[in-house]
């Protein structure tokens, strides 16, 4: 398992997709380069209309790329139909065949592949057990709940043992509690089957908790690819930082830059180190934007720390509290602290100081 894990499953190079022609042409994907490793849980994340679903449909074969190459397991598949690719899809609305029973739905792929009846029956039973639906095998899709339909759609797509499973926002129609359950269910299934998962979502929390790696997309481009940790702590662009989690942006001046690190001058004049993303090398005196995550700042006594601020209000969230502040100079700032019960909530209007964790500042491109 371990040795195959890093060999590429999907290799996309210079891929673009243009719908329509002439004046009404719409570029849905432009110049996508992406490599997904075998057995990876890979997430395409972005707002609606960013092209993530189009990219998934191109991988599935429902759309053909306008340009570029797409290889699955080292085989070029651009130009091939969906029935000629070792890839199965879990559709957003499940797209279960309404005239077939749960068992018939799950067995459909194997039946179309011309497998023997005994093999189909055995695999269907195995899949029913895998998604805990054995007791509902003879029901029609209309006779089971949304969460159960979701499981059947998963089992149907897994039954032919594809190399890659594509999931198009499969959890978006479920309520919060079911969604949490299905998230761990999906991780379990992926672990048990070892199949490469490509997961499309607009929910950043879902992406962070489930993925091995994430590609953040916007306007038909991939802005950044990386582990959830990298995407969250080392965003390269303002859009990525803004889309993932709560973020504070500060306009600062570079005091000195050296390789991947820089000293920046914060509002109020204090100097602090900041990381630079690869490819961005601002000179001394340049104005740049830095990102500070709300949990990486701490309230300290007025006059201490590196920033001065005034408390506007506190919002209680149970496990933690969000403190809304105004920095010296007027910029808004949100700080998050865990409710351990040790500290009293600051009064609105009171002056405070802010201390920043080492490595809290990340410079982003615009």
């Amino acid at each position: 398992m371990k040795d195959t894990r890093n060999s590429p499953e999907i290799e996309i190079a210079g891929l673009s997709k243009v719908f329509g022609a002439g004046a009404s042409a719409f570029t849905a994907l432009s110049d996508i380069d992406l490599t997904i490793a075998q057995g990876e849980f890979f997430t395409l994340l972005g707002p609606s209309g960013c092209g993530k679903t189009t990219l998934l449909r191109v991988i599935a074969g429902f759309e053909q790329p306008s340009d570029g190459s797409l290889r699955i397991n080292a085989q070029e598949v651009a130009g091939k139909g969906p029935n000629a690719r070792p890839v199965n899809t879990v559709f957003q609305n499940y797209a279960l065949f309404p005239h077939m029973s749960v068992a018939q739905n799950i067995g459909f792929g194997l039946k179309m592949l011309g497998r023997a009846r005994s093999e189909i029956d055995a695999t269907v039973d195995e899949m029913l057990a895998l998604v805990q639906m054995a007791h509902l095998a003879d029901r029609k899709p209309a006779e089971i709940s949304g969460g159960q339909q979701q499981r059947v759609a998963l089992a149907r797509a897994l039954a032919p043992r594809p190399r890659v499973l594509l999931l198009d926002e499969p959890l978006s129609a479920l309520d919060l509690k079911l969604r949490k359950g299905m998230q761990s269910e999906l991780k379990r299934l992926q672990g048990e089957t070892g199949i490469t998962f490509v997961f499309v979502t607009h929910d950043q929390e879902e992406a962070l908790t489930m993925s091995d790696r994430i590609a953040v997309m916007s306007e038909g481009r991939i802005l950044q690819t990386g582990t959830p940790h990298e995407i969250y702590h080392r965003p390269r662009e303002r859009f990525v930082a803004d889309f993932i989690g709560d973020t504070n942006f500060l306009e600062v001046e570079v005091a000195e830059a050296d390789g991947a690190a820089a000293q920046v001058k914060l509002p109020g004049g204090a100097l602090h180190s900041a990381r630079l993303p690869g490819g961005l090398r601002p000179g001394a005196g340049a104005r740049v934007t830095v990102v500070i995550r709300p949990e990486q700042a701490q309230l300290v006594a007025p006059g201490q720390g590196v920033l001065a601020a005034t408390v506007e209000k506190s919002v209680f969230f149970g496990t933690d509290t969000h403190v809304h502040l105004h920095l010296e100079g007027g910029a808004p700032f949100i700080l998050r602290r865990q409710n351990t019960g040790a500290m009293p909530e600051p009064d609105p209007g009171s002056a405070v100081g802010l201390a920043l964790a080492e490595g809290a500042l990340q410079v982003v491109g615009d």
Binding site: N88, A95, H99, A103, M112
Partner: protein, 300 residues
């Protein structure tokens, strides 16, 4: 509380005019036909009020003119009966085969052009059936458009006899009833979720397998409605076999007409009409029963 319930109780009265018309217009004439089939024919047409089963007897049997006790099967009637059923079944199949791609074509057009295509489908209804049927006669008669063109082009030497044949009737009926198949099929396809077609392809089905396992089962209600709408008027068709069959190739409708006209045997005509009704109902029940039985077992 009592007041709304009171008004509820008398609501059905609002339906009374419609119900009256339905009962009088549908079951009234049918009842008269049923009663007439058990009466004695009058000499100049009409009926004499005297009970007789002779009308029903003559649907299936005939008596020798000189020896009424000599009874044999009425093969002429049975031939016409069989021909009516057979031609109607063929018409239904032809309409289904032609109607499916037509309806599919319309259903897969962009939404704004679909209405135009549907509109085009209904255009033949604007012209009287008789005139359209005579137009077909003009096309296929021996000195008609098709034969003239073929002779002129040198494909054939002598005209092909197409008019006054079962082929002519079939052509006419398929032409007339095709829209009745296309419209319900289109309605079924319009409701079809095309993502299911994608799901079929995704699960390794070929185009033909998607058609057979996904599309056809899902548009089945359209086929059922279309088949019923085509088969029922086909089996009772009167104008088309009269004009294109030329009196030589009779169908049930023409036979019934004959009994009320030249034949002057109203009870036989009435009995034949009821026979037609029974055939239609029996065919419908059989059709729906077989369709329901097709719902397959577990992995079917």
């Amino acid at each position: 509380m009592a007041e709304p319930r009171e008004s509820h109780r008398w609501k059905w009265l609002l339906c009374a005019p419609a119900l009256t018309i339905l009962v009088l217009a549908a079951s009234g004439p049918l009842l008269i036909v049923l009663v007439y089939s058990f009466l004695t024919p009058g000499n100049m047409g009409g009926v004499i009020w005297e009970f007789s089963t002779e009308g029903w007897f003559r649907v299936f049997f005939r008596r020798d003119i000189f020896d009424p006790a000599d009874v044999s099967l009425n093969t002429a009637h049975l031939t016409i009966l069989w021909r009516s059923v057979w031609l109607s079944l063929q018409t239904t199949v032809i309409c289904a085969v032609l109607g499916f791609p037509t309806a599919w074509f319309i259903a897969t057009r962009p939404a704004n052009t679909r209405t135009v295509w549907l509109f085009l489908i209904t255009i033949p209804f604007w012209t009287n059936l008789l005139i359209r049927t005579f137009a077909i006669q003009e096309l296929i008669r021996n000195s008609g458009t098709i034969n003239t063109l073929l002779i002129w082009a040198g494909v054939i030497d002598a005209p092909i006899q197409m008019l006054f044949s079962e082929f002519a009737i079939l052509l006419g009926m398929a032409y007339v009833f095709l829209p009745l198949m296309v419209l319900p099929l289109y309605a079924a396809m319009d409701k079809l979720d095309f993502r299911l077609v994608e799901a079929g392809y995704d699960l390794y089905a070929s185009r033909l397998q998607v058609l057979r396992h996904v599309i056809l089962p899902l548009v089945k209600p359209g086929f059922i409605a279309g088949s019923i709408l085509v088969f029922i008027p086909s089996i009772g068709a009167y104008v088309t076999p009269r004009v294109l069959g030329g009196g030589r190739t009779l169908m049930l409708g023409n036979l019934i007409d004959l009994q009320f006209g030249q034949g002057r045997n109203w009870p036989l005509g009435a009995a034949l009409a009821i026979t037609l009704l029974v055939i239609v109902v029996a065919a419908l029940l059989f059709y729906l029963r077989t369709l329901n039985r097709e719902e397959g077992p577990r992995h079917g």
